[in-house]
Amino acid sequence: MSALHLTINGQPREVEVDDDTPLLWILRDSLGMTGTKFGCGVGVCGSCTILENGKAVRSCQIPAREAKERSFTTIEGLSSDGNHPCQRAWMEEDVAQCGFCQPGMILNACALLREHPDPSDEVIDAVMSDSVCRCGTYPRMRKAIHRAATLMREKTA
């Protein structure tokens, strides 16, 4: 057990955890940030997706010893008011059903749009198919990603 220093949503945090503790459980159990979800534990479902420098990473696959001194953004820190273009697009397209996978999906989409500001359906499918939604919100997510892309362009225009 050792002190781990890392930055979450711009805030420096310090936690005492074992070196092998996945970042997912640091967020959820040590820091009480439950927006990041546990789905599979082995990096195949995407529920625990968070951002690091705008790139999507799977928090269940990052042990504490590798997380130190790094900076991450979780769904709680994506926007101050829930109005990030992806969050807005998600609401405007009525994507969510049970909603459990959606924080991970939204962050995955943010990373996708950073790489591909105007993605084709094929690119969206290729990137987003690394994550699982059991309610079947895929068609709406695809639309929401296109909408978010438009919102982002309007913002920068």
């Binding site: 074992d18 009480g32 927006g35 546990f38 789905g39 009525d94 969510a96 459990f100 079947g136 895929y138």
Partner: protein, 663 residues
């Protein structure tokens, strides 16, 4: 039982000035409880601030009940939609009939909710009208206020509740006319959409209570095996581990974090006693089902023509619908806080009343000692009609004398599901010389649910009982003169229970596939072939269901037109198009046209067109989401993973080897 027309309608205040009305689908109640059969399943409360609170008896698991049900209330009442709140009901004397399943939430709540809301509206209007000295019938309600258009006066609900609560509740309130609906039928965003996209929604897994510990439970890897010994010392040496406890379903490790509990669990290295192992094998079971499908079985429906025709051609086919696990993204979990005096549970359950009852039984207490909080559910699909995970949490909490969150891992969830039971469907049919379908036989060999022990029919040959397990078999909508449907129950030692659309998927898959075979046998357009078999305006009786073929014809015709269906047009090489339809529980009429391509044996679904008649769509967005989700669920079942058993153990573990549909 005949319910007396005399009602016990009273009003009272609850926590300050408020108008409170309870309803149970038969009667309306004030807050003071009438004696006798008082079983409300909903409460409406309007407080002095004008906030309307609906205490909701349905679990939200993505189907949108926390939006659709308050929409019904708000419209009938004339409430301000932005000031409608939801409180989740807890099982107890006020809520004896909770439970969410069988696609019945909106349909079942429609009338009682409207009646209760209309009663509240009439009371509020009465108070305002008296104050203004006008006829109540000249007043209306909208946006949380009573208005009198002629004089331009209006008063907010909050100012009326104290007086309204003193009046007797109207016995038969006048319901709004459909043309006056302003919210019902309007595309309405989910009430919890912002919470979901900001990560604020609290699912069961997100429950945190003071002093809570975390548990992970090692269960027998195969049926009938029991923990013989385990390395408690090694588990305890994991930092953060507090306790190792043996419970009915295995050995639990309790720790101060989820990760420590999981690590401790993997250090247990349990040695399993296989003396009573059940070597269940799904391949063997399939053979058993196939054999059973040739046996006579219970007759579900049988109709014979006055004069039999001669068959020119007969066809037969057998379909296998395998085992599946629900695999919701949120794995099974429960927080249990058992003290010497009581038990408090936070569970993402579809069945809170049974949870309360069975938890009390497990603890040997009266039900009122158990308090159940129903959390938001990260996907239900029928799995959470079983409360097995909660009983495990109770045993662990009782042993360690602290609140405990038990969280199943994904392999736990995959391997210890209440599986969709495999079934075999044997169908045969006959065509006469003119190509008419003159005979239909459908036998389902499958298994009854065992959510709380194996369900047994009242009598071995009770057709209505078995019809309940044979949706999609006995309620065949097609007009065929000579038909017989049967059910052959087959014992199944694994846990199994309802699945999305309950029993319909396997049966309808087989039935619609076989209708296609018959159409193919006479080179007919499969869509026109179905339409021809759905002629006639007489309602069709099947068991207790009344089937309206005209509504199914309409959706078939609609999907034909909207999909650009043209059977005479040759599909491109590697491309194909198909149609299927169904009436779900005599209520929802649906038809699909699906375009696929096949390349190297890999099926890709290019487009699905669905036409749906489910009656009045309270929230069209909710209907669309359910249909889209149902399509993807169906494709996932058909094209992706299945659960197999070998040597009494599930062979799959995670989404990597139990594949589900992805984008």
């Amino acid at each position: 039982m005949k319910t007396s027309r005399r009602t016990f309608l009273k009003t009272a205040t609850l926590g300050g000035a408020a108008l409170v009305i309870g309803f149970d689908g038969r009667r309306l109640f004030g807050e003071e409880k009438a004696t006798g059969n008082f079983q409300p399943n909903g409460w409406i409360r309007i407080d002095a601030e004008g906030v309307v609170t609906l205490t909701l008896g349905k679990s939200e698991m993505g189907q949108g009940v926390r939006t659709a049900l308050p929409m019904i209330l708000a419209d009938e009442l004339g409430a301000d939609w932005s000031r409608v709140k939801i409180v989740q009901a807890m099982p107890g004397p006020d809520f004896k009939r909770l439970g969410t399943g069988g696609s019945g939430s909106v349909q079942g709540s429609w009338k009682p909710l409207r009646e209760a809301a209309a009663a509240a509206r009439e009371l509020l209007t009465e108070v305002a009208a008296k104050e203004w000295q006008v006829d109540p019938l000249t007043c209306s309600t909208a946006a949380g206020a009573v208005r009198h258009a002629a004089s331009g006066r209006s008063v907010e609900f909050g100012q009326l509740v104290a007086a309204a609560a003193k009046l007797p509740v109207p016995q038969t309130p006048q319901l709004k006319k459909a043309e006056d609906f302003h919210l019902i039928g309007r595309r309405t965003a989910r009430i919890d959409a912002r919470d979901i996209v900001t990560g604020a929604t609290k699912y069961g897994i997100d429950t945190r209570v003071p002093g809570m510990l975390y548990a992970s439970l090692e269960r027998p890897p195969s049926l009938g095996t029991k923990a013989r010994k385990w390395n408690e010392k090694a588990a305890r040496e994991v930092r953060g581990v507090h306790a190792v406890v043996a419970v009915t379903n295995g050995v639990a490790v309790v720790a101060d974090s989820t990760w420590a509990a999981m690590k401790g669990r993997s250090a247990l290295m349990v040695d399993w006693d296989e003396t009573n192992a059940i070597r269940f094998d799904s391949l063997q079971h399939r053979k058993k089902l196939e054999k059973a499908s040739r046996e006579p079985g219970v007759v579900l429906r049988s109709e014979r023509p006055a004069s039999p025709s001669t068959a020119a051609r007969t066809l037969e086919a057998t379909y296998y619908y395998p085992f599946y696990v629900h695999a919701p993204l949120e794995t099974m979990n429960c927080v249990a806080a058992v003290t010497p005096n009581d038990c408090e549970l936070w569970a993402p359950t579809q069945d809170p009343n049974d949870l309360q009852r069975d938890a009390a039984r497990l603890l040997g207490w009266a039900p009122d000692k158990v308090r159940v909080h129903v959390t938001t559910i990260g996907g239900g699909f029928g799995r959470r009609l079983a409360n097995d995970y909660a009983f495990e949490a109770i045993e662990i909490s009782r042993a360690v004398k602290a609140p405990v969150q038990l969280l199943w891992t994904r392999p736990d969830d995959t391997r210890h599901g209440h599986f969709q039971a495999a079934s075999v469907h044997r169908l045969s049919g006959a065509l006469d010389g003119s190509g008419n379908v003159i005979r239909w036989r459908h036998t389902k060999a499958g298994s009854l649910h065992n959510l709380g022990g194996v369900e047994k029919p009242p009598t071995p040959n009770d057709a209505p009982f078995y019809q309940g397990y044979a949706w999609g078999v006995y309620d065949l909508p097609y007009a065929i003169p000579d038909l017989e449907m049967t059910y052959v129950p087959v014992d199944l030692p694994v846990k199994h229970g309802p699945w999305r659309a309950v029993f319909a998927p396997g049966s309808v898959f087989a039935r619609e596939s076989f209708i296609d075979e018959l159409a193919h046998a006479r080179s007919a357009d499969p869509l026109q072939f179905r339409l021809a078999l759905l002629q006639g305006d007489e309602p069709l009786k099947a068991g207790e269901l009344t089937i309206d073929r005209s509504r199914l014809r309409r959706v078939l015709a609609l999907v034909r037109d909207r999909s650009g269906w043209n059977w005479n047009e040759k599909p491109k090489a590697g491309a194909g198009r198909g149609v299927a339809c169904n009436i779900y529980d005599a209520d929802t009429h649906i038809a699909y046209v699906v375009d696929v391509t096949v390349k190297d044996g890999h099926v890709r679904v290019k487009r699905v067109v669905a036409a749906v008649d489910c009656g009045l769509a309270v929230n069209p967005i909710g209907i669309e989401q359910q249909i889209e989700g149902g399509v993807i669920w169906g494709l996932s079942s058909l094209l992706k993973g299945e659960i197999t058993f070998r040597n009494g153990a599930v062979e799959q573990h995670n989404y990597a080897d139990y594949d589900v549909a992805r984008m």
